[in-house]
Each structure stands twice: as C-alpha cells, then as structure tokens.
C-alpha cells in the first residue's frame, strides 16, 4: 500500500464543505486559500442525503502556513457560515477508495 500523491513533493489536500448551500462559499474559501498561497485545482459539488457537499482539491505544497493553521482558519470560516469544513490529505481517500 505504498502510494504517492501526484508528482513528487506535491501535497494535495481535499477540503470538504457540508451543510446548507448559500451565497459566497467559494468566494470566501478562495480568498482564504489565496492568502495562504494554496492553489485550488478542482471544485465539485453535489446534494447527497439532504447534505450539500462541496469538495475542493487544493495544492498545499507551497502554502505559507502549516496544516494546523489552515485548519483553524477553515474552522473559523465554518463557524461564520454554519458549515462543516474539513481538510484532509488526499492520500487517505486513495487508500480507502482505490485498490
């Protein structure tokens, strides 16, 4: 089960937003990401089991702050918008969902 995400030295994280859809989610997240020099690669969204779910693939390789700080900022944004926001390294999803 040895897997590397993408190119060497690239760290991809998935930001997941769940809750009720509203105006400005992407804008606020994008601003926060840009400030930390995190590149947004891909955005997807869907309604599942009454949840609004948005996933955002981000490249955190050149981020100016560490995971802990990114997480704190996302938690703060989540509280402001009443959304649940998580950030996880992409490797965990590959391990769980790809053989």
């Amino acid at each position: 089960m040895v897997r590397k995400s993408g190119k060497k030295n690239t760290q991809i994280c998935i930001v997941t937003i769940t809750g009720a859809d509203k105006v400005g989610i992407i804008a606020k997240l994008a601003t926060a990401m840009a400030k930390a020099n995190i590149n947004i690669i891909d955005v997807n969204q869907k309604i599942m089991e009454d949840y609004f779910v948005m996933t955002m693939a981000t490249d955190v390789t050149n981020a100016t702050i560490d995971m802990g700080k990114i997480k704190k900022q996302l938690d703060k944004l989540g509280r402001e918008m009443s959304l649940n926001i998580t950030i996880q390294d992409e490797t965990i999803f590959k391990a769980m969902h790809r053989i």
Partner: protein, 453 residues
C-alpha cells in the same frame, strides 16, 4: 483518477457521524537491554526510553491526525513483560511495586494514558520472579493509575496452568479490595494464547518475539459498520456479509496508512493492524447494536451467536484483503461495561454470563469488563477463568477474562467506573462453583491438536 465527491463524503461522514477513529496507536518497546541486578539502574534506563518515545509518539500522532483529519483517540505504550525485567532483581513485592510505580510515572511524564505489560507468560509454569510479580499485582495495580497488567495462563501448546489460575483468583480478590469499586481489576486481563502484538489495553505487551520497537494500530468502527448494516435492512445475509467486508476494507486501509506514516516518522518498524471492533460508551459505538441492526431483537437472545460469527468473519475477510499485516487480537470486544447495548441487555436480564461465554467461542476475545458481586469466592473466579481459557485452548484462539468483583455490591446493582471504563450492572454468578476441582491445581494438559509435528 481524482477522488469523487461521493467517495470523499463517505469518508468524511464516517468520522463526522459514525465515530470512525483510530482507536489506538500503541508503541511496543523492548526493555530487555535495560535489565540490571540493581533496581535503580533498571528504572533509570526504562524511564528514559519510555518518556522519550512516548513524547515522540504523541507528537507524531498529532501531526498525522491533523494531516488526515481522522482522530487518533489513544496513544499507548506496551513493554516487554515486566516479569522478565524482574528476573535478576530481589524477589520482593516492594521491588515489583517500585517498578510499577516507575512505569506509571514515566507514562505520566510522556502523557501516555495507559502503559501495558506489567505481566508474565506463565502458561506452563511460574518462575520465582513470575510468582513475585503476581503477588505484587494487588499493590502494583491499585497504587498506580496508568499501568496495565496481563497474564498468559494457558495456551494450546502448553495447556492451562491451574496453579496460576487458582492463585489468580485470590490475587483478584485482594486487588479488588485494594481499590475503589474494584477498579484495579479493570487494569488486568488474563489470557489463553495471548498475542504478542496486541495494541489494545489492558492486555497489551511487547512480546519477546518482537523487534526493538513496533508500532501497532487498533482501528475501530462499530458505528461505521452499524451504519452500513442499517442502510441494508432488506438484503440477505450473504449480501450483508459483502457490504460489511467492503466497509471494513476501507477503514483497515486508513488504519494501515496512518500506522505506516507514524512508524516512518518515528523511524521504527510498523507492526500490525488490529481490526477488532471495539465499543466505547458513546451512543452508536456499540457492537451489541450492530447485532441488533442485523435483526436480532436484543443481544443475548438466540441468534446472537450466529450474527456475531457472521459479523466477525466479514470483518476479518475485509481486513485481510486490505492489509497484509493483520494481527493482534482481531476479534470482537464486547466489554459489558463499555458497550451501551451490552449494558441494556444485562439490565433487561437477556444477556447472561453463560451466553457471553458462548459468544466468545465464535469470535469474541473474551469475558471482558463484567462485574460480579464482591462476595464471589476466589474459587468461583478461578473457575470462570478456567472455563473461558479452555475455550481458547481447545479452539486454537485467544480468549481472555477481565472480571471485576466489586466489593460490597450484589447482583443487580450498578457500578460506575467512570471515564473510558463506563458502568456495569453486577452480574449474577454462582456462590459455589468447583472448589475441589480448582484446589487440585496442576496443569490441564495440552489438547491433542497440539501434537502435529
């Protein structure tokens, strides 16, 4: 191919709604090279190693927890069986107690909540140091907070050491008397066929066949499994086994990834993933509730044993496909006091000690965390233990007993242990069981299936 929204959501929902966590990362530490003829030298060396590695374990577990967004609930340490460390030292109870206290203080300094391995392998016979350790248990586990003990009293190859089983009945009574509500007894498990790499307390230790360090992972997702069972109310049992397998595959892969990364950061060997379903006192995190979700009205009723057998077989198949490093106990824990569904079933009079014992013959790892009246004689405790261990010996599997004779409580009372240990209804047991049988002592010989060479 990039991960889809559905896949991400499935994983996120496991942690948000169904209590998926890495239940424990347990670092096994070899301490044999710390041995000394003088207790001061031993203690100095083991404390240094435990504190240093324990702090690192916590630090790296925090980093990985953040990286993957999956909680790593417990960080623990398992050591070389303490009886081995005591071999060169004076045969005094005070020496063994001093060692236990040194381990306790090292665990506290390293912010490790439980440290396992204060125990001995005595399946065939006891050395003087082993006996000394057992004699010290009533003080060692009541005068410390974080030290856990184990004794391997039986194995398929050696049979059952009834001298030790008889002795341990008395040890338990003394330990119960020394601690509030008998809580000290929650910190020791006795085994048949104990695994050397089990990451779960109270039975964890770092076996003598292990390398210097070994990082073992205990995953756990009763809530996740229960959810998938609930989502499939109408499928037949073959299909139900399939969906459980798929889910366990995923959580095992997550466990292995996390274990490997922490081991790499610590520069130690990765050991095993233990795929046991371990309950907690949180609502929904219950093995009994999975059985009930499968369609058994309440755990303990007829149907429970078959349902548990199906469940655990599916868990093992999913886990074994996901990782080549499945080990430890990898069975089902159904601790009475730590599982809401079990507590309800005992209170309702549906689940008896006898049915619990039957469940352990298919896949559960033992009679775990059940309380009996404090007046229960030592011989009855020894007889319960002998029965349970014989199931393990004959069936080539691990079985264990963690029983708490609660002082001044009687059958039907509720005892609150607090924290992770939950609360338990005191179960009814016989007042006399097999006094002459236990008093005979000796060894129950190994069963014939051991003679395969």
């Amino acid at each position: 191919m990039r991960i889809s929204v559905e896949e991400v959501f499935e994983t996120v929902k496991m942690t948000l709604d169904h209590h998926f966590d890495i239940r424990t990362v347990t670092l096994g530490i070899n301490l044999k090279d710390c041995m000394d003829r003088k207790v001061d030298g031993l203690i100095r060396r083991i404390q240094k190693r435990i504190i240093e590695k324990g702090l690192l374990l916590n630090r790296f577990a925090d980093i990985i927890e953040q990286k993957y967004g999956i909680p790593i609930t417990n960080r623990r340490i398992a050591i070389t069986p303490a009886s081995i460390l005591l071999e060169p030292l004076p045969r005094k109870i005070s020496t063994a107690v001093r060692l236990a206290k040194a381990l306790d203080s090292a665990a506290k300094k390293a912010h490790i909540d439980f440290l396992g391995g204060f125990g001995a392998m005595v399946q065939k016979g006891m050395t003087a140091a082993d006996e000394n350790l057992i004699d010290a248990i009533p003080r060692a586990l009541s005068e410390t907070d974080r030290v856990c003990g184990f004794l391997n009293l039986a194995s398929t190859v050696a049979g059952i050491n009834m001298n030790a089983v008889e002795k341990f009945g008395h040890t338990l009574k003394k330990l119960a008397a020394n601690s509030r509500n008998g809580i000290g007894c929650a910190k020791i498990a006795v085994f048949a066929n104990v695994p050397e790499d089990n990451p779960f307390m109270a039975g964890a230790h770092h076996g003598i066949g292990e390398p210097d360090f070994s990082l073992n992972i205990g995953i756990s997702g009763p809530g996740v499994v229960r959810n998938v069972v609930l989502q499939n109310p109408d499928c037949d049992l073959t299909q139900l086994s399939e969906v459980i397998k798929h889910t366990v595959f995923k959580i095992t892969r997550a466990g292995e990834l996390i274990g490997r990364e922490i081991a790499a950061l610590m520069k130690v060997d990765f050991g095993i993933v233990d795929i046991s379903l371990a309950s907690t006192t949180s609502a929904g995190d219950s093995v009994a509730k999975i059985i009930e979700a499968m369609g058994v009205r309440q755990i303990g009723l007829p149907g429970s044993t078959a349902a548990l057998a199906l469940l655990m077989d599916a868990v093992k198949k999913g886990g074994a496909m996901a990782s080549g490093n499945i080990g430890g106990l990898s069975g089902t824990f159904i601790p009475v006091s730590e599982d809401m569904g079990m507590i309800e079933a005992v209170k309702a009079g549906v689940l008896s000690l006898e049915k619990l014992e039957a469940l352990t013959s298919v896949c559960s790892v033992g009679l775990d965390m059940f309380a009996v009246p404090g007046s229960t004689p030592a011989e009855v405790l020894s007889a319960i233990i002998a029965d349970e261990l014989s199931i393990g010996v004959i069936n080539n599997k691990t079985t264990s007993v963690r029983v708490i004779p609660v002082p001044s409580k009687k059958a039907g009372d509720i005892v609150h242990f607090g924290g992770l240990l939950g609360s338990a209804p005191v179960m009814k047991v016989a007042k006399v069981a097999a006094p002459q049988f236990i008093a005979r002592k000796g060894r129950i010989p190994s069963p014939v299936q051991a003679l395969r060479n």
